[in-house]
C-alpha cells in the first residue's frame, strides 16, 4: 500500500512537467502578449516603450527558452510575478525589506472559490442523495416524476439568468439579501456575530444557485445506482431474510450505490478549484474563475501558468485521494491494489 502511494506521488512529477510544457506552448499559440493589452491603443504609449516591456518580460525570446526560464524558477517553487497586476506574486505572499507583505494572487482567490464550491458541493450532495433515493424507491411513481421534472428545470435554466432574476427579486424589490460582493461596505465596523451574518447573507445566492442547477446530474446518478443495486441478488437475499425495508435500503443498498459517487466527487475537484467565470463575475466575487479569465484576456502568462500548474497539481492529488478513498470504501478494490 505504501509502495503504491509513493509510486503514485512520484509519477506526478513527470506528469506535471508534461502538463506544464503542453500548457505553456498552447498558451503561446494564442496571438498577442501583455504589451498588446497594456495601453495598446493609447497614442501616448509608444512602440519603443512596448518593445522595452517585451524585453523586460523576456517575451522577445523563443518560447522554448521562455519555458526553460519558467521551469528553472519553478525548481525553487517560484511562481513569479504577474505582468498585469503590478508585479503581484502569482502564488504566495512575499515580504519586502520593510516588512510590507504583498499577498499572492492565487493565495487570495483560491480560498474564496474553494469555500463557495465546497459549500455548494455539500448542499448538492445533501439534496441529491435523498432525492435520488426517493426517486429510486418510488420509481415511475409521481414522486420520481416530479423530482426528475424539478431537476431538469434546474438543469435547463441558465445560471446567470436565474442569478440576475433572484438578485432583482431578493435584493432590489425586497431588501432581503445583498446583491453582489462578499461583504458589506461597513463590514470592518461590525461585531463578530454581525460579521458572520453579513458573510452568510452574501454567500447564499452564489452558493445555492450553482447547487440547484447542478443537482440534476448527481440525483440521476444516485437514482440509477440505487436501481442497479435493487436488482442485485444480495438485495433479494436481504429481503428474503426478512430484513426491514429500511435496513435493506439504507444499510445494504445505499452503501453500494454510493460507491461511484466517490469517483464523481473526485472528478469534480478541478471544478472546485477552477471556479466559474460567469457566477464570479455576476456576483462580484474575486475567485479563481475570474482570475483565470482576466489573465487569459490580458495574456498574463505567469498567472495563467501558475493557475494551470497549481490546478493540475491539486487535480492529481484529488484523483489520488479519490482512488485511496475508493480503496478504503470498497474491499474489492483494496485487494486488487495489493495484488498490483
Amino acid at each position: 500500500m505504501l509502495k503504491y502511494l509513493v509510486k503514485r506521488v512520484l509519477w506526478m512529477i513527470p506528469l506535471l512537467i508534461g502538463i506544464s510544457l503542453i500548457s505553456f506552448f498552447i498558451m503561446h499559440l494564442a496571438p498577442g502578449d501583455i504589451t498588446n493589452n497594456e495601453a495598446a491603443f493609447n497614442p501616448k504609449a509608444s512602440e519603443e516603450s512596448r518593445q522595452k516591456l517585451r524585453e523586460l518580460y523576456n517575451l522577445d525570446k523563443p518560447v522554448i527558452v521562455q519555458y526553460g526560464l519558467w521551469l528553472k524558477r519553478m525548481g525553487t517553487l517560484d511562481f513569479g510575478n504577474s505582468f498585469a497586476s503590478h508585479q503581484k506574486p502569482v502564488f504566495w505572499q512575499t515580504t519586502d525589506k520593510d516588512g510590507n507583505v504583498t499577498k499572492g494572487m492565487i493565495q487570495e482567490a483560491l480560498p474564496i472559490t474553494l469555500m463557495i464550491n465546497i459549500l455548494g458541493l455539500i448542499i448538492t450532495l445533501s439534496l441529491a442523495i435523498p432525492l435520488g433515493i426517493i426517486a429510486a424507491r418510488k420509481y415511475t411513481l409521481w414522486q420520481d416524476k416530479s423530482i426528475t421534472l424539478f431537476n431538469f428545470i434546474g438543469f435547463s435554466i441558465p445560471g446567470f439568468w436565474l442569478s440576475l432574476l433572484l438578485m432583482y427579486w431578493l435584493g432590489v424589490m425586497n431588501n432581503w439579501l445583498p446583491i453582489s460582493g462578499l461583504h458589506s461596505i461597513n463590514y470592518e465596523s461590525l461585531d463578530t456575530w454581525a460579521k458572520i451574518k453579513d458573510s452568510i447573507s452574501h454567500l447564499i445566492l452564489p452558493v445555492i444557485i450553482p447547487s440547484v442547477t447542478g443537482l440534476a446530474g448527481i440525483t440521476l446518478f444516485v437514482k440509477n445506482g440505487m436501481l442497479d443495486v435493487f436488482h442485485q441478488d444480495y438485495i433479494t437475499t436481504a429481503r428474503a431474510k426478512g430484513l426491514s425495508e429500511h435496513k435493506v435500503v439504507y444499510t445494504h443498498a445505499l452503501r453500494n450505490a454510493l460507491l461511484p459517487l466517490i469517483t464523481i466527487v473526485g472528478l469534480s475537484i478541478p471544478g472546485l478549484i477552477g471556479g466559474s467565470v460567469i457566477a464570479e463575475t455576476i456576483f462580484a466575487i474575486p475567485g479563481m474563475g475570474k482570475l483565470f479569465f482576466d489573465s487569459v484576456l490580458m495574456r498574463d502568462f505567469p498567472v495563467i501558468m501558475g493557475i494551470l500548474t497549481i490546478g493540475s497539481a491539486l487535480t492529481l492529488i484529488g484523483n489520488l485521494l479519490a482512488d485511496l478513498a475508493y480503496a478504503w470504501a470498497d474491499p474489492r478494490v483494496r485487494r486488487g491494489v495489493v495484488r498490483n
Binding site: A30, P31, G32, D33, N36, N37, E38, A39, A40, F41, N42, P43, K44, A45, S46, E47, E48, S49, R50, K52, L53, N81, S82, H86, Q87, K88, D96, N100, V101, T102, K103, E108, I112, L164, M167, Y168, G171, V172, M173, N174, N175, W176, P178, I179, S180, G181, H183, S184, I185, N186, K197, D198, I282, F283, A284, I285, P286, K290, L297, R299
Partner: protein, 536 residues
C-alpha cells in the same frame, strides 16, 4: 441588519435644495480592479480613476479644457520655446505632512524616464533633455527643440513622493497598494476584489473637498452594477444607451432618485482603410464609401441617438475642432458616380460592381465590441446598395492586434480612437509612424499632413497652433483616409442625493468639479453599506 420583508419604498424628496455642507460618503463602482495606484506603471483606466483623486499633477485642464496650474502656480516658456520653468505653489505638503517640493517633481521625472521603469507612457518625458530643480519651488525642463504637447504631458504626470519611493523598486513597492499623495483624498483601505475606500486628505494642496469618503466597489458585471444602483447601494455608474434612454425613463422610482448626465466623450468610432491595399489607395473609392454610409442611421440605430456626427478628430466645441468642417452627407448617387469614375461598374448584373473583372468585395474586421459590430452591419447594408460586397469578422482583442493590425493583414477596420486633450496626433497620422506596432497602421501618407503635424508640434502659441490643426483637420477630411462614424456621449447616472453637479456638462465633463459636490446630511444613506431606508 438583514431582512425587513418590506419592499424598498423610498419616500425622501431628493429634489429639494440644500446649502453646501461637507461630510457624507459617495459610493461608485468599477468593472475592473486597478493593478496598482502608481499610474505611470499601472496604466489602465481603473487605476487612473482612483489615483487621480490621490495624486496631483503640475498642471491640469480647467472646465473649458484650457490648461491651468495644479501644483504649479505659474509656468514660463523661454523665448526659444525650448525651456519651461514651473513655479510651485508655496507650502505644499504630502498627506503624511512632509513638504512637497520640486525635488519630488524631478524625482518623478527621473523615475518615469528610467530605463528600468516599465511605463508605457515614458516617451513624452524622454524628450526632455535636461530637468532641474534649482530651488524647492522651481522645476524646469529643457527640450532639444520646441515640443508643443509638453504642457499637456505635464498635466498627465502624477507627482510621486521622493521620500517614500527613493531606493524602492517601482514595480514591486508596497506603495502601489498603500500610496501617499497630496490631492483631495487619501487611501484608507483596499480590500482585494471588493472595494477601495478613500477619505479626505487633511493636507490636500488644493484645500478640502466636500464629500468625506469615496468608496469604489469592484463589480465586474454591468447588470449587477445596475441592480446595485437600483437598490441604492451605489450612487453612480456609467450607463449604456438602452439604460439611459429606455430603462431609467420608464421607471418612475428610478427617475425619482437618479439624475442622468450626458457629456461628449474623448473618443470616436471610425471606419479605416488599409491604404496600401487596392482599391483604397484611390481617393474616389474612399470618398464613395464615405458618401454611401449613413452616419445618422448608425447614431440612431446603434447609439439610440446618443452620439453626434463629427468632421474632425477632435471633440466638437473645443478650440481644436474646426467649426467650418461638415461631415460627408449620405448621398448614394454621388457614391455611385464616384465608383463609376474610379472604373467600377456592374457588368455582369449580379448587383456587385467590378473593375478589371474583379468584384469589389472586402472584409471589415473589428474587435468584439457590440457597438462596433452593429455599426459594421449597418455599413454592410449601405455598401450593398452601391454594389460593394462586405463581409464582417469580429475578433478577440489580443488576436485582433497581433494577427491583423500589426501585420497589416486587413482591408478595412471599424475601430475607435480615444483622444488626449492635446491636439497633437503625430503618432496616428504621420507617415513615419507606420511600423508594426505603431499607430498609423492604415499607412496614411500625405506630405501636407506630415508638414502640418510637424509644425503643430513646434508651435506653443495656442492661437497659432489652433490654425494649424484646423487646417490639418480640413485636409484630413478632404482626403478621407478614414470615415468618421460617430462620437458617442458618455452617459452617467448619479443619485440625486449628490448636489453641486454642473449640468449641462462643460467641455471637461461633469467630473471637473467633483470636489465641490456635496451630500446634504438629510439625504445621506444610513452608513451600513446597504440601503436601510425601508426599515426606518
Amino acid at each position: 441588519m438583514t431582512s425587513c420583508g418590506k419592499p424598498n419604498q423610498d419616500t425622501t424628496d431628493y429634489t429639494k435644495t440644500f446649502p453646501v455642507e461637507s461630510g457624507g460618503m459617495l459610493i461608485d463602482a468599477t468593472i475592473g480592479e486597478p493593478s496598482g495606484l502608481i499610474y505611470m506603471v499601472a496604466g489602465e483606466s481603473a487605476a487612473a480613476a482612483i489615483s487621480g483623486n490621490i495624486f496631483n499633477k503640475l498642471l491640469k485642464y480647467d472646465k473649458n479644457l484650457d490648461i491651468e496650474g495644479e501644483l504649479a502656480e505659474s509656468w514660463l516658456i523661454s523665448s526659444d520655446q525650448k525651456t519651461i520653468t514651473f513655479k510651485l505653489k508655496p507650502n505644499l505638503k504630502w498627506a503624511d505632512g512632509k513638504p512637497l517640493t520640486s525635488e519630488d517633481v524631478l524625482f518623478t521625472w527621473k523615475l518615469v524616464t528610467d530605463e528600468n521603469t516599465r511605463s508605457p507612457y515614458a516617451s513624452d518625458y524622454q524628450l526632455v533633455k535636461k530637468a532641474e530643480a534649482p530651488d524647492p519651488n522651481t522645476f524646469s525642463v529643457t527640450y532639444d527643440k520646441a515640443y508643443a504637447p509638453a504642457l499637456d504631458s505635464w498635466s498627465g504626470l502624477q507627482v510621486l513622493p521622493k521620500h517614500l519611493l527613493e531606493k524602492q523598486d517601482i514595480h514591486t513597492t508596497a506603495f502601489a497598494r498603500n500610496p501617499v499623495g497630496s490631492h483631495y483624498y487619501k487611501l484608507d483601505s483596499w480590500t482585494h476584489g471588493e472595494n477601495l475606500k478613500l477619505s479626505r486628505n487633511p493636507n490636500s494642496v488644493l484645500g478640502p473637498a466636500n464629500i468625506d469618503k469615496l468608496v469604489t466597489r469592484i463589480i465586474p458585471d454591468n447588470s449587477a452594477q445596475f441592480l446595485e444602483l437600483m437598490a441604492d447601494n451605489i450612487d453612480s455608474m456609467g450607463l449604456d444607451p438602452i439604460k439611459y434612454s429606455r430603462i431609467v425613463p420608464a421607471r418612475p422610482e428610478l427617475q425619482k432618485k437618479l439624475a442622468l448626465y450626458k457629456e461628449l466623450g474623448n473618443s470616436y468610432t471610425y471606419l479605416g482603410f488599409n491604404l496600401k491595399h487596392k482599391p483604397f489607395d484611390d481617393i474616389r473609392v474612399r470618398k464613395a464609401i464615405n458618401y454611401a454610409i449613413d452616419k445618422q442611421e448608425i447614431i440612431d440605430g446603434v447609439y439610440l441617438g446618443l452620439g453626434i456626427n463629427i468632421a474632425s478628430p477632435y471633440k466638437p466645441g473645443t478650440r481644436w475642432s474646426n467649426p467650418e468642417l461638415k461631415p460627408y452627407p449620405y448621398d448614394v448617387e454621388k457614391a455611385k458616380a464616384l465608383l463609376k469614375e474610379a472604373g467600377f461598374a456592374d457588368s455582369d448584373g449580379d448587383g456587385i460592381v467590378e473593375r478589371d473583372g474583379k468584384p469589389f468585395a472586402f472584409e471589415i474586421i473589428t474587435n468584439q465590441n457590440k457597438e462596433r459590430e452593429k455599426s459594421a452591419v449597418l455599413i454592410q447594408r449601405r455598401l450593398k446598395d452601391v454594389g460593394i460586397d462586405v463581409q464582417i469578422r469580429a475578433i478577440e482583442w489580443a488576436s485582433f492586434i497581433s494577427r491583423f493590425i500589426k501585420t497589416g493583414d486587413f482591408d478595412v477596420v471599424v475601430l475607435g480612437w480615444g483622444l488626449g486633450l492635446d491636439p497633437d496626433q503625430f503618432s496616428i497620422w504621420h507617415s513615419s509612424q507606420n511600423q508594426p506596432g505603431q499607430f498609423n497602421f492604415i499607412n496614411y501618407n500625405n506630405p501636407q499632413i506630415d508638414t502640418l503635424l510637424e509644425q503643430g508640434r513646434l508651435e506653443l502659441n495656442p492661437d497659432k497652433r489652433m490654425k494649424i490643426y484646423h487646417e490639418f483637420a480640413k485636409v484630413l477630411l478632404e482626403d478621407s483616409p478614414i470615415v468618421y462614424l460617430s462620437a458617442g456621449y458618455g452617459l452617467t447616472a448619479i443619485h440625486k442625493r449628490v448636489k453641486g453637479i454642473v449640468s449641462p456638462a462643460p467641455p471637461a465633463g461633469i467630473g471637473y468639479n467633483s470636489h465641490e459636490w456635496y451630500i446634504p446630511e438629510q439625504l445621506r444613506r444610513a452608513e451600513t453599506g446597504r440601503n436601510e431606508i425601508a426599515e426606518k
